[in-house]
Symmetry: C2
Subunit: 202 residues, 2 copies
């Protein structure tokens, strides 16, 4: 019990085997059973057999159980865009950005995915939060592309197409599993084909 470690965001966490996973499981079950707005952090901790302070070592608040990891994803996207060779086109960089997030698409995350989506769908505030998460990714990728010298409008369009592919890829991955990087490559290709088809139609 005395063993402590530094979590990815620099906070000290006491070692509780599977604490994070147990908290996510308890939170999603409670959100599903009684509604997100009716669930208190104390209840989540109790259901998980842990203390409130353990909860707060892992999450800032109950919303972070659903939306934690946004900054990590955005950083992975931005880092991959920065690392793409200088001569590559914007959509090549965007593809690299999506592929770079694949390591966060774990089996554990997939196991929680459908329940998480159902909770979000049932609550206006959470649906707005989910939409803003995508807006955040679009802004992050737009800025990263502009830093590569991509003109502003092209950067914004490429980022939006990337977010559409990311969002669709997440849905496909939840349904069928597999490597998210491969799935994202495929959905970005689908998006590009949709764009080409739109440009042809008059």
């Amino acid at each position: 019990m005395g063993l402590s470690l530094v979590t990815y965001d620099g906070r000290m966490a006491r070692w509780e085997p599977d604490a994070r996973e147990r908290l996510v499981r308890a939170a999603l079950d409670l959100f599903s059973e009684q509604g997100y707005e009716n669930t208190a952090v104390a209840q989540i901790a109790e259901r998980a057999g842990l203390t409130k302070s353990t909860f707060f070592r892992h999450f800032r608040d109950k919303r972070e159980v659903l939306f934690g990891g946004q900054e990590v994803l955005a950083e992975l996207m931005v880092g991959a865009i920065a690392d793409t060779p200088a001569g590559a086109g914007p959509l090549v960089a965007v593809e690299a950005a999506l592929v770079a997030t694949a390591k966060t698409f774990t089996d554990e995350r997939r196991a929680h995915g459908p329940q998480r989506l159902a909770v979000i769908e049932g609550n206006d505030e959470l649906r707005e939060r989910a939409a803003l998460k995508m807006v955040g990714f679009a802004i992050a990728m737009t800025d990263a592309l502009k830093r590569r010298g991509v003109p502003e409008l092209e950067a914004a369009v490429a980022a939006e197409l990337g977010v559409l592919a990311f969002d669709r890829g997440y849905g496909h991955w939840l349904e069928a599993g597999g490597d998210f990087g491969e799935i994202a490559r495929r959905t970005l290709r689908d998006v590009r084909e949709a764009v080409a088809s739109l440009q042809r139609a008059e």
Copy 2:
């Protein structure tokens, strides 16, 4: 003073010459001077020389001073997409959607625009609200395109490109004025050129 009329949302409003405009002016001035979060409806009414109940005949809350009209704009977009001839491509329908909003881009709205944008930029919650307004337009246009039989992904992409053009068009219109319909046609053409350029770059 006894004269009353039904407003666009069906509420009865007593005739107050320029009341709405005076309330917008007072609200924007107060938001700029002391911050959006520090401004109460009672102060806005007082500054405008009107009562709180007059405020509430025109606006649901102080946020609606900044974001009112979203439903009207979405309805104009959706109506124009539905009315586009059956054989026309999705981006033709999207262009019609943007052009259909032109009648709401009045001189009065333009006069308030820069101050309104500055207030929104200075407040996280308001920036999120502005982003969600654009998400709302994208969802409305996507659904309207799907009802025309446009495949889901093409509909989503066309709607996103339309929202990018709308948002940029608004910025250009604030800067230079002119007919918003013409401006939106031009920014949508710019977006399509950016897309074509992205598709060529590898």
